[in-house]
């Protein structure tokens, strides 16, 4: 559930940013995705991706532990 909501909210937020950019600058969807969201030329972009990766892995672990604790409480 945590992983699903994480992915959904991330994609939805990217969608909102892209829509607003399209509204303001009337550029094509692909050019915005290409330049603005993923492959910007900056050197510190990796920080953001590591940050997201940490969020994703943390969410997965926490969700797994939550389900395990629920299972064990049910069985006991």
């Amino acid at each position: 559930m945590v992983t699903f909501l994480f992915t959904f909210l991330l994609l939805a937020s990217i969608g909102v940013i892209t829509m607003f950019d399209l509204y303001l600058y009337e550029s094509s969807l692909m050019s915005i995705l290409d330049a603005n969201i993923f492959f910007e030329k900056g050197t510190s972009q990796w920080m953001l991706f590591v940050n997201l990766l940490v969020g994703l892995i943390y969410g997965m672990v926490v969700d797994y532990r939550f389900r395990q604790s629920k299972k064990s409480s049910k069985s006991s």
Binding site: M1, V2, L5, F6, L9, L10, A12, S13, I14, V16, I17, F20, Y23, L24, N36, I37, G42, T43, S44, Q45, M47, L48, N51, L52, V54, G55, L56, Y58, G59, V62, D63, R65, F66, S69
Partner: protein
């Protein structure tokens, strides 16, 4: 992992949170520029309408005491449509939290750490906020309580110091309403009303958790008035120090005003005080929006919100950097697109839409109980 807890906030903490939240990023960026030298009148008017919005939010919450906005959605429209509304609000809160964080990052990158990547500032700032939220709402309230005296006194001291420095020119405030009332109204709708006063919608997630809910109405209104007065003080300070044109051109007018301070040719560079004010204001503002989104996720997934603090925090950091390529684009989006497509529907239209359904359903329930 801690389970779902019932957290309580004192009325004083609620007052402080609203006060700091309202001043938060509104003190950083220039607001009410459409009204030129009458920006302070526009802020006063927006505060008046903001009181109306706050009353509406409180009225909604008072129909179902103890339930937050998302639970009200579920009560009114059932689980599925209620969850859809909740998801939309979660996205709205996350987006606005990212925008507020970006305001702060831009300020730091432009004035203090000009060599540091904005990504680093966003992520480190989010660490602090995530830690605070992981510890809970009460910790957020207590932290605000500790920093409030500094926050308040620093804003006042800046005004006094600028005045003593002789940098204030009160003729900049004249002519009052020289261009009539139209520019003032243009500044109020939708910009000033939605930012910062309409953003109180995020408090519909916090007010139900105050220790004395019945007195929360009075406290909320008082906090809105206090923050409105402080924003007027800020606007007067900026207009008299910088003038209308320089204020409109300046990205961070309060910071530019503080840079004019020079007392006895000894006390200078007090702009760092402004950075403190802004930093704390933004920590509170991002936290409140973030908390609103987390409570929504808690309701949808039936899992404690603390599970989401880190994953969603990383999304906020990512979005705050990716939201725009530069500060000009960020401000343009904030002034043109966001008030119209996000603030107005989420702060006014949706609550107004829910209100009649809520009234009808709560009345029906009361009749059944009788």
């Amino acid at each position: 992992m801690k389970n779902i807890l019932v957290e309580k906030l004192s009325l004083w903490q609620l007052f402080i949170l609203i006060f700091i939240f309202e001043i938060g990023s509104a003190a950083v960026v220039s607001t009410g520029n459409d009204a030129n030298q009458d920006a302070w009148i526009a802020i006063g008017l927006a505060m008046f309408f903001g009181l109306g919005l706050a009353l509406m939010y409180y009225f909604m919450l008072s129909r179902l005491p103890g339930k937050n906005l998302f639970e009200i959605f579920q009560f009114c429209f059932g689980k599925w449509i209620g969850n859809l509304f909740t998801l939309l609000y979660i996205m709205y809160f996350l987006y606005i939290a990212s925008r507020v964080l970006r305001d702060f990052c831009e300020l730091i990158v432009s004035f203090i750490f000009d060599e540091t990547p904005i990504e680093f500032i966003a992520i480190t700032m989010l660490f602090v906020i995530m830690y605070m939220l992981y510890l809970g709402l009460e910790v957020m309230g207590r932290t605000s309580e500790v920093f409030m005296p500094y926050f308040f006194s620093f804003i006042i001291i800046i005004g006094i110091a600028v005045f003593i420095s002789g940098e204030m020119e009160f003729e900049n405030l004249f002519p009052v309403l020289g261009d009539g009332f139209k520019p003032v109204m243009k500044a109020v709708f939708p910009q000033l009303l939605t930012f910062p006063f309409g953003e109180l919608i995020a408090f519909t997630m916090i007010i139900p958790y105050t220790s004395k809910f019945k007195k929360a109405k009075k406290i909320t209104l008082l906090a809105v008035i206090a923050s409105g007065v402080m924003l007027i003080y800020n606007a007067v300070l900026q207009i008299t120090t910088l003038g209308v044109e320089a204020r409109a051109r300046s990205n961070f007018p309060l910071l530019s005003s503080a840079r004019e301070i020079s007392l006895l040719e000894f006390i200078e560079r007090v702009d760092l005080i402004v950075v403190f004010i802004v930093m704390f204001g933004i920590i509170v503002k991002v936290s409140v929006f973030f908390y609103g989104a987390l409570k929504g996720l808690e309701l949808i997934s039936n899992r404690p919100y603390r599970m989401y603090v880190v994953p969603i925090g990383t999304i906020i950091a990512f979005i705050s950097v990716k939201i725009s390529d530069n500060f000009a684009e960020h401000i343009e989006e904030g002034l043109i697109v966001v008030p119209l497509f996000m603030h107005v529907p989420f702060q006014m239209l949706f609550p107004l839409m829910v209100l009649p359904v809520l009234l009808w359903k709560t009345r029906k329930n009361k009749e059944v109980n009788k």
